[in-house]
């Protein structure tokens, strides 16, 4: 067998495999829809807000419900304890206070 035939057959085979992956993804839509629907139902009924990907700390278990001091769990400037903290950024929607410096006469 010529080298070119082998190489082209391999590329064609891999292309078919990639198309197969697309087909597999498309064919599992119906199957996963039922599973997602069931999970969605559970989320709605129990009022769940987060995924159980990282269960080691409350701010990684429920990042959406994390409190203001999430980045500094134990004291200001505290280091992150858990490896998952690297994957879970502080929630984008945390409200913040405001530090204002007023002139001395106003403060009096």
């Amino acid at each position: 067998m010529r080298r070119s035939s082998l190489a082209l057959a391999l590329v064609a085979g891999l292309t078919v495999a990639l198309l197969g992956a697309f087909l597999h993804a498309a064919s599992s839509v119906g199957e996963t829809a039922a599973r997602l629907e069931e999970t969605r139902h559970l989320v709605a009924r129990l009022g769940l807000s987060d995924l159980t990907l990282f269960t080691e700390a409350r701010y990684t278990r429920h990042p959406a419900m994390a409190d203001l001091h999430t980045p500094f769990q134990d004291h200001p400037m505290a280091f992150e304890h858990f490896p998952s903290g690297t994957l879970v950024p502080p929630p984008a929607h945390l409200p913040g206070g405001e530090l204002r410096i007023v002139p001395a006469e106003d403060a009096r």
Partner: protein
Amino acid sequence: MTSPFARQRYLIDYTLAALGRRRGKNAGLLAIYTLVVFVLASAMLFASAIRFESTAVLADAPELTVQELVMGRHGLLPADHLDKLSAIRGVATVEGRLWGYFYDRANGANYTLMVPGRDAAEYSVGPGEAIIGEGLARSRGFKEGGALLLVSQTGKLLKARIKSVLSNDSALVSSDLALISEVDYRRFFELPDGVYTDAAVSIRNPREIAKIVEKATLALPSARFVTRSDIARTYESLFDWREGLLVALAAAAILAFAIFAAEKASGLSAEEAREIGILKAIGWDTTDIIAMKLWEGGLVSLGAFLLGTVLAYIHVFLFAAGLFEPVLKGWSVLYPDFALAPRIDALQLATLFVLTVIPYTAATLVPIWRTAVTDPDEVMR
């Protein structure tokens, strides 16, 4: 006269024979190239699938969650806040929720203990009963009909008959859950009546959420409000693959590969330059030489792209992204046993193709063109 197709096939034959002369080096290159594509494609497929999954399942998360803040931290929500929230026009229902964490010293895992709400008839539990998630059941070997035994830090014992175990299908949101009755919950955590962990608010018209939050902020200045879109945004940023640790780690590997590939592709060895000189001397055109090198770059990069992507698909969707598990697991003892819905984002795949195949093929061309246009006599000297 040879047909253009036959001509290209001869060129491929020659290219492959030339690659075969440096078999070890080229096989190594192909393996590393495939590995880089595999890691990138796995991260991409995983991030895209889990983002889709989280968006789909959290679409029905509470429209508005109200938390009490005490000294900037999450505190207990007094029951009278529920009345104040109910009084706001546009609010359909307000439900005080009870949920919290329990650290199990037996296996070092954290569980989420929760009281099912009024609407959750199919998940309702009476005193002395519990419904548990698959991760909790798996880690402690609990089964339906068995007994859930938990001892609190203060020595309170929770003993409940396991009414059912939640299905594996919903593990991504329920793996560490233990649903118990309100009576058991308050007794176990020694929680007085009239306080809740937080409140879930449903709203009649979703377009009024911003207005209702505005009114609720005035009514409850010490509270914090988390809307459904806030939850979605939190997860959107969490799963943004560009921010993912995996991609950050892969970036170092990609950089190393880029240097290796650029060095391999752009710098011609004296042997290769001599080879081109000989080809030109025996009558090859500059276009033939460039076409031959294009085939070399194209076959190596396309092969690596296709193989890496197919392997990544198998890894993520047929083997549940097993190689990423240690990274995602962190220190958590309970890790949900979940399968992701297989899906491929064609745009992302096209981006990966453009970023991996085209630069390598292009990098092989420039030095070849420079050598191929030079006089063969000069090249061979």
